[in-house]
């Protein structure tokens, strides 16, 4: 059941009506049944898998919480008490820097965990990550091992024992959610959820079930208990977000996909400009596709009174790669920060180890996106980018300091006060910011080629030929000229909205307009979606495959 389908519209309308008509104490039942129904519409065969995961995690969570954690009398226990609030505050302020959050790391090392807790944690992690590995990575690793072995003349005459099973929809998303829940209980950040129904709802909550955002239990579970009544403003805000998400997905992303698919699926037919255009259009497509889905998920949940995590914050306006990851797929990047990067030591370790942590985190992030070497390379590239960015920042910091050391006494005063006037002027200039955004965007765009390419060899072909001229007929249009003009118009429209959104979000801007203008925009948006659905080429949400 796609968000942009008639069946979903009916499901959502009916569910919202019944949700608010029911007394609060019964709402979780309705939402749970609706969530399972929603999942069955996608992946009926795997409902049992999600039920088993839910039961194992719930039971292990109770067991972990049931055994009292003995903590050593740490000298600064005040810090450990403040872990959760400080993390929540960091989340609220949008500070998702992988190089901060040192207190979480510090506190973790101070807690001594009894063995039993560790046993239940291990059971839960093995069960859930094991299922994820089996369905998503088994074939990939087995095939890769056989491929490598064949080069050393091993397993000759044997085919790799592959399994032919469809991957359960949303398994990467709900598994990560379940893992965060278990680890958070183990670390003492949240209490275990005693109510099986509420916990099951946390796992399968339908707006975010198939493609996120990856919600933390501490944020979502309390909302199921909180009594809420219908709020006109929240509901209309939510619907506006749903509509904008649909426009991004159906009107923009699906339209761009025509050009992108043509070039990426037949890349050897092209050289030069078509490859560059396709890579740029894919950069826009994947943003509109995934952020569009996230907007629809957040919007539908908001209509019913639930607030999901913001997943995108204009990532292509990031001034650096680090900032890009604070703005792109926020719920996933913060997950990797909290459950992989920081437990490995984060940045509070020796420099080589910090770079190693960064690289491994992004490599795993690439693998999370898909069982394919293209994703691994994509993740590795981002890891490499961040390491180089860190080295260059360090270099420029030192370079700047030595430059100012040669200056007069005034600059020394400024430096002491933590301000460098000349530096501020440069870094504050539009040109400087524009250049940084362009460099970041170029690097992100380059990495997306590996993400989208059908194979590693295709990716290398594209990167190797995108700046070449020639080919049989380089001027031949990839799509109809009218379709290309439409694509360009879509991109310009998106850029315009994104720039405007630096000041005010589109749904809030539309809400501030007078009634006739507002309804005209709704009607135009709706008809743009309808016309694109009927006459356009329907594309699956890219992130559904993960």
């Amino acid at each position: 059941m796609l968000f942009n389908s008639l069946s979903f519209a009916l499901f959502f309308l009916l569910l919202t009506g019944v949700h608010f008509a029911l007394p609060h104490r019964f709402r979780w039942i309705l939402m749970l049944v609706a969530s399972y129904y929603f999942y069955i519409c996608w992946s009926p065969g795997y409902i049992l898998l999600i039920l088993i995961s839910t039961l194992i995690t719930w039971y292990c969570g109770l067991k972990i919480a049931g055994v009292p954690a003995t903590t050593t009398p740490a000298p600064d226990t005040k810090d450990s008490k403040n872990i959760a609030p400080s993390r929540r505050a960091a989340d609220r302020e949008g500070s998702h820097n992988m190089e901060s959050d040192s207190e979480i790391k510090r506190s973790d090392s101070e807690i001594k965990i009894p063995d039993k807790r560790r046993v239940f944690l291990t059971i839960s992690l093995i069960a859930n990550l094991g299922a994820l590995f089996f369905f998503k990575y088994y074939n990939f690793f087995t095939a890769s091992i056989f491929e490598i072995s064949a080069r050393f003349n091993l397993f000759q005459g044997h085919d790799a024992p592959l399994i032919h099973l469809m991957m359960p929809v949303g398994i990467s998303f709900y598994t990560f959610q379940i893992v965060s829940y278990t680890v958070d209980i183990y670390k003492g950040r949240i209490p275990a959820e005693k109510h099986l129904g509420i916990f099951a709802l946390y796992v399968v909550f339908w707006p975010r079930l198939v493609a996120g955002p990856i919600e933390r239990a501490g944020r979502l579970i309390p909302q199921f208990r909180q009594e809420s009544s219908f709020d006109y403003k929240t509901a209309t805000d939510g619907l506006r977000l749903v509509l904008w998400g649909m426009v991004k997905k159906v009107v923009i992303a699906d339209n761009l996909a025509i050009y992108v698919n043509q070039v990426f699926d037949h890349c050897e037919d092209y050289t030069g400009i078509p490859l560059i255009i396709a890579s740029i259009l894919f950069t826009i497509q994947i943003y509109c596709d995934f952020s569009g889905y996230s907007d629809m998920a957040i919007g539908t949940a908001r209509v019913m009174g639930y607030e999901l995590t913001e997943n995108f914050r204009h990532p292509y306006f990031a001034l650096s790669l680090r900032e890009f990851w604070q703005r792109w797929h926020i719920s996933l990047s913060t997950w990797f920060r909290d459950y992989l990067y920081i437990p490995m030591g984060g940045n509070r370790v020796k420099r080589w180890r910090f770079h190693y942590n960064l690289f491994i985190t992004f490599l795993v992030s690439g693998l999370w996106h898909g069982a394919n070497w293209t994703f691994v390379i994509w993740g590795g590239l981002h890891g490499l980018y961040l390491i180089l960015e860190n080295i260059s920042e360090e270099f420029f910091r030192k370079f700047g300091r030595s430059l100012f050391n040669r200056g007069d006494a005034t600059s020394s005063v400024n430096r002491a006060a933590g301000s460098t006037s000349s530096g501020d002027t440069i870094s504050g200039s539009v040109l400087y910011k524009g250049a940084r955004i362009a460099i970041t965007l170029f690097l992100v765009n380059y990495a997306w080629i590996f993400f989208r390419a059908n194979s590693v060899s295709d990716a290398f072909y594209i990167t190797g030929n995108m700046f070449m001229t020639g080919g049989e007929n380089p001027a031949a249009p990839v799509v109809e000229p009218s379709a290309f003009i439409l694509s360009v118009a879509m991109v310009l429209f998106l850029v315009f909205v994104e720039i405007r959104e630096q000041r005010v979000r589109i749904e809030h801007y539309v809400a501030s307009l007078p009634f006739p203008a507002r309804w005209s925009i709704y009607t135009l948006g709706l008809w743009a979606v309808v016309i694109s659905t009927v006459f356009g080429v329907k594309q699956e949400f890219i992130y559904f495959q993960f």
Binding site: F230, D231, A235, V534, F535
Partner: protein, 309 residues
Amino acid sequence: MQSKKFISRLILFSILNVAIMVTLLSFFSGRNRDIHLENWETESNLLVTGENQHYDLAILGTSRGRVFSRDSNHLTVEKLLGKKVINLSKGGGGGLMPAMVHLNHFYRRGNSVDQIIYFVDPWIFFCPINNENNTFFLRDEPFELSILRDLVVNSFPSQQIISYLQMIAVDDWKSISRYAAPGLDRLTLKAIDPVKLEEARNHYLGLYNYDKFDHYSKFVSEINMVAKKNRSKISYVMLPILMRDFPGAKEVDKKLKEISRSEGVGYYNLIDKMQERKFFYDHMHFNNKGISYFTQTYLEPILQLTQLP
């Protein structure tokens, strides 16, 4: 109070958009009625169906019925029968549900016909691909609001409805709806390959949904009602096929005999007739020799037997 405001605005917004939709669809409906092609020129039914026309015979069926018009066969059939014929069969496996849609539209345009011959195949009683999931039966047809309504009323899947709406964007009807492989029915089946026949049988069996048999059979009665209401005499003919024991043929035969008795319509099972390769260009489609022979030997007598008093 807040929810009442929300619901009232939602209803108002829905009404506004439904009104826009109806206006737009009415604007695009029937815009190609001035294009008129002949049955032997096109695969389309709507571009052939005129307004307030009278025909002696209408043919319904799948591609096995459509071959009676492809190339010059239509003129041959008309000449042999001495009748004005319209062929409403649909290639690409248009079964009972598509036939119902096309027959309804034919009458809605003020046309009339004395006799209808429905060339039935066993698989159209079992396969969704020949009925609600058939993607071909509206591909060559210009947009008509009344057909859209039929699709919605008969619960066709949204994908079929969307695919029909896409016809609004087609502007080159004269060339788009031409028969794609002229001359095919002039060939003769060289040999009957048992392996290929078995493959064909398995292909159909793979598509069969036996639970749908009763559901699709009801459309026979609905088609009969429509024909009766418009004073046409309808008969069902199971065409010859080079696989006499075709899956489901016995069940269909039994059902059609039952309907024939209870509803007073004609039914003729000719599945085991004309079992010679020279009449076919593949295991189920007549070549032009087969069409001439079948028309003279079977169709003409059937029409004489079933014609209106």
